[in-house]
């Protein structure tokens, strides 16, 4: 009985997606997709989900109903692929908020707690880290001479300083301009996001980014079920499919609910200051108004919303 209900639900789903797809094509055909094969399993994947995955609409053009179904389908997919049950939600941007980040390089000691907290929070594959901490010789900012894979017994090392780099959430993002299918865009709160299900994996955005802040899933991320963070959202930390680009999104799953990003929370030295640029009383506004700040590669005109400053 349950099986039959499921079958009906699936053929409904197929029909829904088929109809919207045909509508987009401008074709109105009465031919129905046979529902008889709907309980066929493609490696545990139902035909209904397969269809719906294939024809899934761009995030910004989904109806609320389509989005709801998509979120459930993503949860099913993660269950099937990783054996983990997650909760995937939509987290719309908050009104009157534009996020910005400031980092105190004189406080950063190169512990890289932010790097690991980010990886855990955002379900990152083993070969992807959104934050790179560059170890530089004091007296120089020649990035070519930076050590980004330093492996010392203890940090900080005498004579070195540390420069963490991540997506700058540019206000004029070259990656967004580059994308041929509009799979990445700047949200109203200033965060540059990716629709992982719309990205075609051409990697042009990676060439366009002046900060090496975009990463490609060269194979399906290998995530152990017990390490998957179940609190996920659509545009943020849900497990990514193979063959698409991802990037730091200022922890939209947290920050859009009023929390701090994982990297900020993990930093033991208080070097990271994150907040609302539109709020005149925010700490980030204090930093911007009272400290000598600089931005990496400001000359490129990408208007990063990530500032560095120093106490000394």
């Amino acid at each position: 009985m349950a099986n039959k209900q499921q079958t009906e639900k699936m053929s409904e789903a197929i029909d829904h997606y088929r109809r919207t797809f045909l509508k987009r094509l401008g074709i109105t055909s009465a031919a129905a997709v046979s529902a008889t094969s709907a309980h066929g399993a493609w490696g545990g994947k139902t035909l209904g989900d397969t269809f719906a995955d294939f024809f899934q609409q761009h995030y910004q053009r989904m109806t609320p109903e389509e989005l709801r179904q998509t979120l459930r389908r993503i949860e099913r997919k993660v269950q099937r692929q990783y054996g983990a049950s997650i909760n995937c939600t939509e987290t719309p941007p908050l009104d009157g908020v534009v996020f910005g980040y400031a980092l105190n390089i004189s406080k950063c000691k190169g512990y890289r707690d932010c790097v690991e907290a980010c990886a855990t929070e955002n379900n990152l594959a083993a070969d992807i880290r959104y934050i790179h901490v560059l170890e530089l010789d004091k007296g120089s900012r020649n990035l070519e001479l930076a050590d980004r894979y330093y492996d010392h017994e203890t940090v900080p090392v005498q004579g070195k300083y540390y420069l963490p780099v991540q997506c700058m959430q540019c206000d004029n993002p070259p990656c967004v301009k580059a994308c041929p299918v509009g799979a990445t865009w700047k949200e109203p709160d200033g965060i540059v996001v990716v629709d992982y299900d719309w990205c075609i994996g051409c990697r042009y955005c990676m060439s366009a980014c002046p900060y090496s802040a975009r990463f490609f899933n060269w194979t399906r991320p290998d995530l152990p079920a017990d390490r998957i963070n179940p609190n996920t959202n659509f545009l943020g930390n849900r497990p990514r499919p193979v063959g698409v680009v991802e990037k730091c999104h200022f922890c939209t799953q947290r920050t859009r609910k009023g929390q701090q990003p994982a990297c900020q929370e993990a930093c033991p030295t208080g070097a990271r200051i994150f907040g609302n640029l539109l709020d005149p009383n925010s700490e980030i506004r204090y930093v911007l108004e009272n400290k000598a700040v600089f931005r990496l590669k400001e000359d490129l005109g990408t208007e990063p919303k990530f500032w560095y400053f120093s106490d000394r």
Partner: protein, 429 residues
Amino acid sequence: MALLLFFRDVLKELWRGPFIYWLWIIFLWTIIAVGGWSYIGQLKNGLVVTNMSNQVSWGFYISNFTFLVGVAAAAVMLVIPAYIFDRKDIRDVVLLGDTMAVTAVLMAMLFVIVDIGRPDRIWHMIPLIGQMNFPASLLAWDVIVLSGYLLLNLGISFYLLFSHYQGREAKLKVYLPFIILAIFWAISIHTVTAFLYSANAGRPFWHNALLAPRFIASAFCSGPALAIIILQLVRRLVGYPVRQSAIDTLAITMTVALQITLFFVLAELFTDFYFEHAHSASARYLFFGLHGAAALTPWIWTALALLVIAVTILMIHPLRQKTLLLNIACVLTVVGVWIEKGMGLVIPGYIPTPLGEIFEYLPNATEVRISLGIWAIGLLTFTLLAKAGMAIERGKLRFRDDIEEQLAGIGNEVEEDSLATTAPLRSGE
């Protein structure tokens, strides 16, 4: 009816051929099968099977793509003299130029398809059902200009061939506007492909106004060089009448373009190294190695050496007029430009990364196999299109108006070579 018979006759023509023709076809299919097998592996496991990385995110595939767009664009070097300067000798072979363009665009598109992570989502780029980020994205521009160029060349070639097949002279009035459009369009495909790179302000090696002129200049070397080789091959192998004056014109074109290309390389070297600065890092990596990493250095110097030898041969008239030496110069030019505009342009753009990381790249066996497969598809496409085209141009394939004769003919042929003709015939009836 004529259209149907056209396709039937073309298929029949492709089915006929000497032993060596079939050997060639089987050879190409073998390579395609090997490449296809590797591609299935890549689809299954993801692009992890290649040597590309988050540091060097485009590699051998896109290098080949870039080179081939140039070859496609260079077909105008036959079209311009044929139609603008009204050169009869070149107009006789201009269809081979169009065929070369069609083949090169097709291969370029295949190289993009094997490079993208989600070929199943390619429809996302189609306007209306998908979403094309036009005019902001240069990649969207590239898709438009390349598909347009493919359609233009297919359309023009088809119109000419179909007219000749029916024993009619093609009307210049009808197709000249499209020829003119195709000339401008050809320049646009390579310009847009160059802009694809020079659009990236974060990659100083590419972000450079000389890139598009360099692309066009080097395309006008490699394209005519390939055309010279191909024209001689069809003259020798199938006895297609190619006049020497056509080859001579191409050789002159190529000589001038190669001189300009080398001048542009010199200009870049001067700018990068007279007063070396941070933005010279990629050029230093390419030509001399950077912090001990120098995987591309032998390649680029080989390319430059080949091009210098080629230009020397080409510039000295008695040498250029010797067939053997001209052919050597052509091969050297094709290989030289393939390195210089392929790997030599794409890879250093990523080394060092915008954050200064030096992570090298050379293609692995999978990438080479898949690429060879695409080259084989290209050679196969060219062989088949050119064979059919030449048969029509030489009057071997002609539409016969006598229906009864046709019908009698159909019966016989089905028995003769069943596989080639039955399938399309049935669908036609």
